[in-house]
């Protein structure tokens, strides 16, 4: 399996996309540090980029990579290699290179500016979001043979979790605001990895008070180490289930 991973890595590095992604994140983060000297505000602005751009780039890159390496996968499948290890090699190589790019691109400026305190939670949520959306993109890729269709499905996942879901959530909260909704919204948030990531970030930044009563409720719940653990477990589940289903489909796929 390590031999296959090596070649997938090699292939990813050759396209230079990961390099541009790292540069893009580096430039963004450095610029934000230049504009504002308050680390809290930098993290807040960066969070908005991370929540939108990281999932988008993860899904697009993963689907394009999967279809570009179709020939390689076909070639490997005719060799004495387990299908599962081919799939896992692809997943691990793509996910780890995107995570590495993110950690360098965002982490390096923080280290240079000496902002150690918020770095851990920012990197952690970024890495989690990358893993979740790479999984979803693999799921979209194995569903169809058509590259355009797969990218469409993957983008739909991004669109849904970044925009549509929040709209629905807002609508629910607005329509039923006569009822006690804390527990319900808490449960609904568990169904959206982007929201989970956002809430972890906001609570770490200590601006949850700005979110009013619900914010205080979340602080109460998420702020405790139990809350962090809970959301961490949920995000892990979000990374694992699409990958698991994708692997099952891939194991039975005709090539």
């Amino acid at each position: 399996m390590t031999r296959v991973i090596k070649y997938v890595f090699y292939d990813i590095l050759r396209t230079r996309f990961i390099l541009f992604y790292t540069l893009f994140l580096l430039v963004c983060t450095f610029m934000l540090f230049q504009v504002d000297s308050d680390f809290g505000k930098v993290v807040l602005s960066l969070m908005n980029i991370v929540l939108m751009a990281v999932p988008l780039i993860s899904v697009v890159f993963t689907t394009i990579h999967f279809f570009n390496s179709y020939e390689f996968i076909e070639l490997m499948l005719a060799q004495p290699i387990n299908r599962r290890s081919i799939f896992l090699s692809e997943y691990l190589a793509v996910a780890s290179s995107l995570c590495l790019a993110f950690c360098i691109g965002v982490g390096l400026p923080f280290v240079i500016y000496g902002a150690w305190q918020p770095i851990a939670s920012l990197l952690l949520t970024g890495v989690f979001l990358t893993l979740v959306f790479v999984s979803l993109a693999f799921f979209a890729s194995v569903l169809t043979r058509d590259k355009a269709k797969a990218i469409g499905i993957a983008l739909l996942f991004w669109f849904y979790f970044s925009l549509i879901y929040d709209g629905i959530l807002l609508w629910v909260v607005y329509s039923f605001n006569d009822y006690p909704l804390e527990k319900l919204t808490l449960a609904l948030i568990a169904f959206n990895p982007v929201d989970l990531a956002r809430i972890i970030m906001l609570l770490q930044l200590d601006i949850s008070a700005l979110m009013g009563y619900t914010g205080a409720f979340y602080k109460n719940f998420f702020g405790s180490s139990m809350g962090i653990l809970f959301s961490g477990v949920l995000l892990t589940t979000w990374a694992l289930w699409p990958m698991g289903i994708a692997m099952r489909i891939f194991n039975k796929k005709d090539l």
Binding site: D11, F72, A78, P80, D254
Partner: protein
């Protein structure tokens, strides 16, 4: 060595393979023929595990190939259309395959030498012509001394000299007692290279015997004439039944 038991494969409405049963034994060489779209490539891909049959079983050395991958160590496969990563070079591709199949200590580079591929090691694969691509596919199929060789239209697109080199190599491997399966539309090649005939039509096996037996049955001396007679007989039979 390979036994195929009642496999079916449906692509949506289309039945690509319909209740195929076939016994392939070591030391024999099989010609797999049939019109375009008769299911030859699907059958080959099923043996390789690239296509998963809807029902039925395939046994390799008496072990089911489903959820099993080790048996592919014993297969050298030359695809009909060799599709390789675009931006890789020939030398890198061959090194990669050797590296991935490290468990095979000795490699057979006869074809690489005969096709003079080492002269083109720096060429990226997407710049290759169809024929050169075929040469690369052939070299890879023979590289690991596999006891089973599955060649999907091996000589299509090769120039006469290279086709002769490849046929000579197939002959050589056959004499070493390997199981060889060849699909081709060039029947004169098959006449030289193979001894058994499997004729497929619309996903079913219509004929499965030795080539000599077919020639006797049809009173022909050449395989292409014999096949033509066989098809005519089948058509006649079908029209009589209707």
């Amino acid at each position: 060595m390979i036994s195929i038991e009642n496999i079916c494969k449906n692509f949506g409405q289309l039945a690509a393979l319909d209740q195929i049963s076939l016994e392939l034994t070591t030391g024999k060489s099989y010609a797999l023929i049939g019109p375009n779209g008769s299911g030859k490539t699907t059958l080959i891909k099923s043996i390789l595990g690239l296509v998963i049959p809807t029902s039925g079983a395939i046994l390799f050395d008496n072990k089911s190939i489903f959820n099993n991958w080790r048996y592919r160590e014993k297969i050298g496969y030359m695809p009909q259309i060799g599709r390789y990563p675009d931006n890789i070079r020939i030398g890198q591709l061959i090194d990669m395959m050797k590296n991935i199949r490290k468990d095979t200590p000795k490699v057979d580079e006869d074809l690489i030498d005969a096709f003079k591929l080492y002269k083109m090691y720096d060429k990226p694969l997407h710049t290759l012509s169809g024929g050169t691509r075929q040469k690369v596919s052939a070299s890879l199929a023979f590289l690991f001394h596999a006891p089973v060789l599955i060649l999907d239209e091996p000589t299509a697109g090769l120039d006469p000299v290279s086709a002769e080199i490849l046929k000579e190599k197939i002959h050589h491997e056959k004499r070493m007692g390997k199981l060889v399966i060849i699909t081709s539309h060039i029947l004169s090649d098959l006449d030289e290279l193979t001894s058994e005939l499997v004729y497929m039509f619309e996903g079913k096996i219509q004929y499965n015997n030795t080539i000599d037996a077919l020639k006797d049955e049809t009173n022909e001396t050449k395989l292409n004439k014999a096949i033509a007679t066989l098809i005519r007989q089948k058509e006649l039979l079908a029209s009589v039944i209707e």
